[in-house]
Symmetry: D2
């Protein structure tokens, strides 16, 4: 399979998510990281490039220079990974798209609806791939869950209960990550809803195949002085008649990264938790609960397509993330043959930003229902 | 310890909850069942009395006759257990209270606020004990959870996430139990919220020591033709600033009796599930999660007081229920020495009925906030 | 159903297992405790009798007097529960059997093979019921496991892995219970193998329907000065070709009462743990694992026969023990109509004592194979 | 960090473990696969090389040619991964070591003691690194477990209970993997003991820091016609006084890859399972059980050194395997500065082969104790 060339914006020394993207890009051997604008601090950018073995010529001082230079090279990058803070996605995303380079962008899409719409416009005018790393949908059992729902194995869906509980913002924030997440000029007005609520929202939509028509959100900032929400209680209604609850919290002590999904139809229900991602409970009404394992008995085609190693050999977070990079390579090398993809893109990105806006609007009007 | 005499109203052959009360009354050897009005059907009442070895003279055709007769006997019952359907609690409760007999009543208190208020009035004028069997608060680890919260081990409470998920009403109802629950003239206007939502509400209140000031409820009846809710999504706010979510469902396929409670403060969090009642997760912020076992290391005084057998020897639903009967006996034999009791009574009963009313009022007004 | 009269030998104030037998006898309302020789200490015997509400006339100074007196009464006891330390079972068991009174005896049967044989002889000459409380076989899912094995659902059995891990003897013993267990003149030569190993052995035999033909045992006493084993590693072979491992330990730190059973055949496997007794994993080869719940979907007749309350409402240790008392009452009131019983009796008791002897013999000969 | 050049022997199209080694080599970006003798079938070798993007010049027809050619190149490989069937390790291992090339070899070391000794001799005369991929010791919590044991947190060790249960050989074997494992001319005389028993043995040794002095093994071949064991029941004794049990099975229906380790000392115990590798139970005597998470509260230095992403973001099998490749690179680039390594090597490889021989010797002599 053809190897592709990857660039990166952001992700310098010490950045968490940049490192994750690099692990993910490496695992399946489809990408070589060859260029970057790794930090807005020139020294840090250079040091990071050295660490990563980049040709110094392709370590750029800023994303604009990089987009132009790489577009001009015969061996220019095939795609760029944008791993800057949320409010800094739009600039590089638009620059690379307009330079004719595919974009793999960390979530959420943007800090404001304006930025989000601008990115969307660039996607449409460029015709380039835009992949948003709601990486949890890369887990094999999440692919299987979606496929089982779509095949009608749960019957008509009635309920979705989704939650994403963490505790790392239990106390007043310190540290760089906590800082920019809590800074509304950088992260946008959403706190937990933007950071993790969008993941939960995307996951529920992905598996059910449905997006809420309305939501009502009770947002809290439990830590004194915190300018954004650190906890969200959300009710959701769907045109199909399904209803749901979404809970996102960064102050739920004892929860590390507790993304959990439960979906119930009139025939069956399924339950999955990200911290134990190789198992899924599936219960047909009136029958014993089954424990479906990643790649084990009962694995579906969609699951098997993204499994690397046999059942009982746990795959984790990086593998699901790597599936995004593998599928991105598949998409790009096939040169837009139009096949549908399971990877989230600009549509899901806009949905996420609207979700955040709707939550804030609801919270500001006494938890009123807001149409999405 | 003195043995007491128990009567029972309802609970004839085939009744589920009547049998549970009898198991519970027997376990600790503090009660003898000696009288009953076990069924409104005379033949069934008589047959049931025979099964239970009652003196035929003390098998009564109706609760009024029973209340008068037992009050007049020198060896009359010390207390009566009322295990009739929800909407039929008020009649016997008032009759026995007014006859000077203590009452142990199944939950919820009543089907309407009017009935609930009438019972409350009888409790107050009689001065007799009134115990409402929100039995889940009899579990040792729930007693411990309350004690830990009260001792400040969780710090200032921020969040309560409580849920009660079942699936037995997934399909259109049949069977006697399903029938009366679904019949608003018998059960009142609440479905899942009355039947199990009140348990969840009571459990959250018991452990946190707090009652919501406001709630907003989205009620659903997913099964066509069902006149009452079979699923409830509820947001809760508390004067202290705590917030919560309550989910009650009888259509969540794969859930048998999934009552689960999670409470988070600014120092620690705890998590407990009724189907695995001998373990509780307790996490202090920044420390490894602890698994606290019933009667194991770290057991508190309140837990030890209601434990019968050592850690590792599971106690279950009946033991927690039996604790209600044991403590009821303790209360009665001490003849109102005024000690505070952890057993729920008329206050909690009224809270539950108001909870149901508030949910319905909220649902009827577009999920508006209702003051409790 | 007819109520029966129960006597008790041992079980005075502070005794653990005597209390357990009384809870178990009360739960289903089939027994009244009316007589006892509750302690060899007359004062303690009297005080215990008062606590339990016994008629002082029927509180006896010793078991011999009690056996004679009760046999002579028109309203004498139907059965006696023997809950003395292991090495003191034979005296009372033989006395009551010879007096024509049924015996319910705590396990293991005796501390020596001589005592065991003497009890067996008394059982045979008396024709009375003798029930040995290997109570773990009273759990509904254990009944179901046995039934599933017998029905061939696992195919030909290949493996049984059974373990019973505790930690309460991790440090040098103190306390009364620890003392007599560690005293070979009182408990016999077996330590953990007698106390809990016999339970594990019995459980494996009960579910598989097979008893080993040979075993090899490596016994350890990890705590300095302990005269008996506190850990046993045992290999087992069966005539059918099945093989097994048994691990019993009282020094496995972190284990409270970890009795666990796994059975594998050529078609399916099952796994169960006493501390989570309402769930059992069942896996057919090549199919997803099922979680079978007590009384839930897939419950068999044998399980349903011993279930008191619906799935999702946990039953525990006392309920399984109570099933022994309920079934003992059924057996006795049917007056030996010859129906087979699942309750362990003298055969299982002798098996257990021989198991202990074989373990010791093996350990003393370099872990040689010993025929059972 | 310097990137290294990797060659591979074996691992052509369709081979499971070759693919695993390649994932592992890629994840951390320290290795480029540049050469291979990927199959003994020339066509398959060539096709596999093309798939992997190797320069055709460096796709060799056999390992001998490869070892010579690569040793002669200025840009020759730094190390070779040997992923041939067990009985075919010795040839290539010796050839590359003698050519001065470091070796990363799949486990077990060899099918016979003769081959094992020959490899050991080559390791010693070459002075090159030899790394044996007992990859389960790459899991962060296993590193932490070893560190906690070494630091005395468990006190004096008493017990190790280790098991490795699978079910994929429940029925008569088919498929290539099953075939060579079951063929004693290819795999050696060990079946499950060689294939997975050596992993369990190595894991127990790694964490406890102890190797048994004696073992006794009961080996079974439950499937008719299978020439090697598919189940092993093993007792172990240690000079320190510790004792252990090891169970390895490939016929335990319902188990996918159930490697589980439990270690108990006189102060504390720990329990870990490979299928849920991001959690470990740790219990100090008399205190509540703690759930230690990978990278969470309580993580030790040794764990943090091999963690890529934060707690709550599961790492799995490939990450642990990749740690071997990362550490191999670290070892090689440091040019033998003599630092101790946690990676298993020739010593552990010889231990594993002797373990298999001892098991077979014990089984052939009536489960006698064999000195290791």
């Amino acid at each position: 399979m053809k190897r592709l060339r990857l660039g990166m914006v952001g992700g310098g020394q010490g950045a968490f998510i940049g490192g994750v993207h690099r692990f993910a890009a490496r695992l399946d051997g489809r990408w070589d990281l060859v260029a970057g604008a790794l930090s807005s601090d020139p020294e840090r950018a250079a040091a990071s490039a050295t660490d990563l073995g980049l040709d110094p010529v392709r370590s750029y001082p800023d994303f604009k220079t990089m987009a132009q230079a790489e577009a001009a090279r015969a061996d220019g990058i095939d795609a760029v990974a944008i791993v800057t803070p949320n409010h800094m996605h739009a600039g590089p995303a638009i620059a690379f798209l307009d330079a004719g380079i595919h974009v793999i962008c960390d979530k959420p899409l943007a800090g404001t609806e304006e930025d989000a719409e601008a990115i969307a416009a660039a996607v449409h005018r460029s015709g380039k791939r835009f992949i948003l790393t709601h990486n949890y949908t890369g887990y094999p059992l999440i692919r299987q869950a979606r496929e089982m729902v779509a095949a009608g194995e749960l019957g008509t869906l009635r309920l979705v209960q989704v939650e994403y509980a963490q505790d790392w913002l239990t106390e007043p924030s310190d540290g760089k990550q906590a800082a920019w997440r809590a800074d509304t000029t950088r992260s946008g007005k959403g706190g937990a809803i933007a950071d993790i609520g969008t993941h939960a929202f995307n996951l529920a939509n992905f598996v059910t195949g449905l997006t809420p028509s309305h939501l009502a959100a009770d947002l809290s900032a439990f830590v004194p002085g915190r300018p954004v929400d650190d906890n969200a209680h959300i009710l959701m209604r769907y045109e199909s008649g399904m209803r749901g609850m979404l809970w996102a919290s960064q102050v739920a002590v004892g929860n590390e990264n507790g993304l959990r999904l439960r979906v119930y139809g009139d025939k069956a229900g399924l339950e999955w938790a990200q911290e134990d991602p190789n198992r899924m409970a599936f219960s047909r009404f009136g029958q014993p609960r089954q424990i479906i394992t990643r790649g084990g008995a009962g694995a579906t085609e969609a699951a098997m397509a993204v499994i690397r190693i046999p059942a009982g050999h746990p795959e984790g977070y990086l593998e699901g993330f790597a599936t995004f990079y593998r599928e991105a390579a598949d998409l790009i090398t096939a040169e837009y043959k139009g096949e549908p993809t399971l990877l989230p893109g600009i549509v899901e990105g806009l949905d996420g930003v609207r979700f955040v806006s709707a939550c804030i609007a609801s919270a500001e009007t006494g938890v009123a229902w807001i149409e999405l």
